[in-house]
Symmetry: none
């Protein structure tokens, strides 16, 4: 019986997170009312506060849940490749595709959440860091393999992340280009050239990622 109610509690927690994601996504963090989240989750305000200590905690839990999902997917895609050059392509592809498939989510995480407060900002920056670290690791692997010369891989990874971030951001906010994937070849070439990698053909299997 304990496990039964625990299971229900966990399910309710997930339902709250789902509802919160929906409300945060449409209203932004600040204008999302606990009342509305409660209604969307088909529970009461008290129910929210039973599962989470406050509004911010819900948002942080969301960041954690979604960030971890993204990272796991990206790391899986990267470790599936052995060639350092292809690893970089895989990392870029998975990040771009993930965002491309979740536009309002992208808007929430890339735009709305930054101006919210120090704790949330830090949590988001930690997520940025993890993505940057992922890119930097791929760069380091290529350097170790001799494919790339030595460089400040963290700074370069930061710049790469920023370049991707801005392209994705504009797409999320303005809808241009209509398909985010259309920007991929240009961006890929630009980034690869920026570190002296040959541009060559992109052999990533796009289809594999389409529904990521």
């Amino acid at each position: 019986m304990a496990s039964g109610s625990q299971a229900r509690a966990r399910a309710r927690r997930e339902r709250i997170l789902d509802a919160a994601l929906a409300v945060f996504t449409t209203r932004g963090y600040h204008d999302a009312a606990m009342d509305e989240i409660a209604a969307e989750a088909a529970t009461s305000k008290g129910g929210l506060y039973f599962h989470f200590p406050n509004k911010q905690a819900i948002f942080l839990a969301l960041i954690d849940r979604l960030g971890t999902q993204l990272l796991e997917r990206a790391e899986a895609a990267i470790t599936a490749e052995t060639d350092p050059g292809r690893q970089l392509d895989a990392a870029l592809t998975v990040v771009l595709h993930t965002f491309a498939n979740h536009r309002s989510l992208t808007r929430l995480f890339l735009v709305d959440a930054l101006g919210t407060g120090p704790e949330i900002r830090q949590a988001l920056l930690r997520m940025h860091d993890r993505v940057i670290a992922l890119i930097a690791r791929s760069l380091d692997a290529a350097i170790a393999a001799g494919t790339l010369p030595a460089m400040d891989s963290w700074l370069i990874a930061t710049a790469w992340f920023g370049a991707l971030h801005e392209v994705v951001l504009r797409w999320a906010l303005t809808g241009e280009p209509a398909r985010l994937e259309d920007a991929y070849p240009t961006i890929r070439a630009c980034l690869r050239r920026s570190v002296g990698l040959p541009v060559g053909p992109d052999e990533t299997n796009d289809e594999r990622q389409r529904n990521a």
Copy 2:
């Protein structure tokens, strides 16, 4: 008389904007209270509402004023150069230096304001656009001069802007690198290589920009 009071009104308007900048900068958009802006401007809440219809309008006016200042300075720096290669350096330098000299302002414009609401977001994106256009124009000039091959200069400029943006953002939020200018050589090389430009020496006169 009329012109005298008009001048006084304009002066009061400027004083309000100065006060608003100070308060927005320290508190962020949302936590900036009209009361505090009024106090800082040595006027009353009613006075604020005489000169501006609402809080958002003050912020938009600020964006406009500061954005125009930045852009004018940047365009002056660019048109002072005739060589397309140097123009690109000048563009990068002036953007980086402007942010570097106004850290809290950077935080306000790059971070806090985005999640505030659609109107402000659009105004900020228009500013981004103007900076991106500046970069794209420099790229186009280089293409026209034959220094660069044809390319999607707008998308590349977007990526460049994003790369700079992220580096500046991390500096603004975490203080790394201690001097934003330290990141410049690496970023410059990275960006130039990304379009196939020779890296070469940076001949921009740093001193000219220091107080920008």
Copy 3:
């Protein structure tokens, strides 16, 4: 005009205090809702918070206003007498009469307010102190005049105050005795005997105090 609005503001402040007194008196501190105080004061909740920073501040202002009124009246009654023995009678009489004429107020100050929180409790104890000091001063005057022997006048005054307090409290809460004044002769004799004063006749003019 400034003085006009200032006067109105002061009047509104007083109206709020009157309303708060009424609501606190009927509901007790904790169950008094700001909504109800606002309604009773014919203003808005925001209006309350314009004049007072929070609920507690309203209560403290009430304590201050009423306590000062009581003290001033008591001191006037005492200084009107020159004979130390009569001063003591005057002090007792004015305290007893004041409470007797404001039963619900008495309940508010002697009962409801104590369990409210440290700040309010301290404010109330400071008021107790002032009354005790008043009694102790009268005792000291009698000691100086040779009417009383030396004694720990502060502790005795505390005990006197406590005796009066309890009698008043029971009257306030249970309505016994029907007229608080009926307890006066017995209490007076008891207190006077407790310090060795002759009981004698009470020559205080009751009528003078009746409407205090």
Copy 4:
């Protein structure tokens, strides 16, 4: 079986009362949360509501339990004396000592609980009444023995109780005097004189009461 579970139920009830006393004592009635009482009693909120209908009932049960304990002890101390004069001393001593040994309990019963609501207030007043009746009975015995003249013994007992109450209250809230017992000789003399009793030496065996 039935009696076994009844015993367990009674034990659980006592554990809840112990826990409630601890929490009420540290937090005051209003700020004591059922959650915390449940945790302290090592049970659940539902468990609380199985044994008591609501929060108030717990408090009332506490008042009853503690009041009965106090009264039984006091009556034992009094009936142990046969001399009416000593009985009065014994009554005063046991009341003062009981409070002196339970400072936070005193605060709870004398201060926090009064402003809580009519039912609890009445229960507390009934306790006051029982203490006052105890004193009044001792006075009556002295009157019957011819040691004291006829008087309104209930009113006098009320005043005595109030005097003690205030002295104890100040000690409970301000810590003066450091040892409550230090106030005893003065208070005793004051009270005895107030009814015309000779002050004489206090022959109560203090040690017997120390751990009351």
